[in-house]
Symmetry: C2
Subunit: 220 residues, 2 copies
């Protein structure tokens, strides 16, 4: 195995709970009360898809422009609630170790620039790292496009790499792409939820993944 | 079976994600960065126990006064982030149905007055309902004291009632008390986590529990 394709929020940076709470407030302001746990279980999908799916679950069919308003307000609240971005334990060291060992890696996220820029910066990810974001593909997770595009840009075949992600959507999208996936508990899903969605292995956070790289048979 | 003993946060009111995020900010302000998912998985323990256990996990042994400061700041942020309290779907209807059918029920929460007052009010819980809170017992969940005290005040034996809670700590404390427990997904734990901790049944939220009361053999 030659490479790792990382999700960003909840996988490398500790942002999931701020995202959940920002979505919850944005929906509440729009008069759409939605349970926190239902938001949490949808995080990792593209924001547009998320907003429309969540509203539909509440029995409201909102149009693209209302979904965009919700997304914009979510972004504002998110930046207000969490001005800084904190890498999850071991995330920076893991990427450094992969670089040193010349194992290919990239980022494939449902987030968008410029919203994700501070997270990339906090992780020390510069312009030399492959980053595929929402704007680069037509369809976001759980569609496989982000992972397929990232693998192609890394020059690594689906059979030669893993996806690493905290959400059920990462595992499902990876399966659609024909890529094995590693689940992390750092986004707040339960272990069995990730395994049921097809995770090949589950670790607690990037620190445990770093200590366990040997189990995955990675080499340059 | 003659009664139900309810947890409050995440079980009857949609407050878990606001609690997680308020704890995360309170810890961050104190220079103690702690992962959101680790906080989430401790919610439902008593606040004092939680603050000390979380700090210890970070390698900081904080004293009782520092734990109290964290708790106070958490309370401030929580009220700022979530001025209103929203009952979870079906919660108000469920309690109304139990009242109508004269099935005994009470609340047993690790929260404290006056912090919980607004949640009780939002649920329409008045002075006639048995409410056992953190201040009424020496030890909070995962110790069984809250559930035992609530059962005694309801006049219902452990073998005659269920605990209903969203957290692993509810299921564990219920087992210690010799009471069967029902898990709800509305606090954001995974189904298997609740079953592994001993839940007898798991439902999505109070609305599904209400539709499923027949499965539990409850009568006045």
């Amino acid at each position: 195995m030659r490479g790792l394709i990382f999700d960003l929020d909840g996988t490398l940076v500790d942002t999931v709970y701020a995202h959940v709470f920002a979505w919850q407030r944005a929906f509440a302001e729009a008069g759409l009360a939605i349970d926190g746990w239902r938001i949490h279980r949808r995080i990792g999908m593209s924001g547009g898809l998320f907003a429309r799916a969540a509203a539909r679950e509440l029995g409201h069919d909102i149009d693209a422009s209302a979904a965009e308003d919700l997304q914009r307000r979510h972004g504002e609240l998110f930046r207000e609630f969490l001005p800084e971005r904190r890498p999850l334990p071991g995330a920076v060291e893991l990427l450094r170790d992969l670089r040193r060992r010349k194992i290919a890696y990239g980022i494939a996220t449902s987030g968008r620039r410029p919203e994700i820029d501070r997270s990339l910066e906090a992780l020390g990810i510069g312009g030399d790292v492959v980053v595929v974001e929402r704007g680069d593909v037509v369809r976001a997770k759980p569609e496989p496009d982000l992972f397929i595009a990232c693998g192609q840009r890394l020059g690594v075949a689906p059979s030669e790499c893993y996806v690493v992600g905290d959400a059920v959507w990462d595992q499902l999208a990876a399966r659609r792409a024909g890529i094995l996936s590693v689940g992390l508990l750092s986004g707040g899903y339960g272990e069995t939820e990730l395994l049921s969605a097809g995770a090949y292995r589950v670790y607690r956070d990037p620190a445990e993944l770093l200590r366990s790289l040997d189990e995955l048979g990675l080499e340059a």
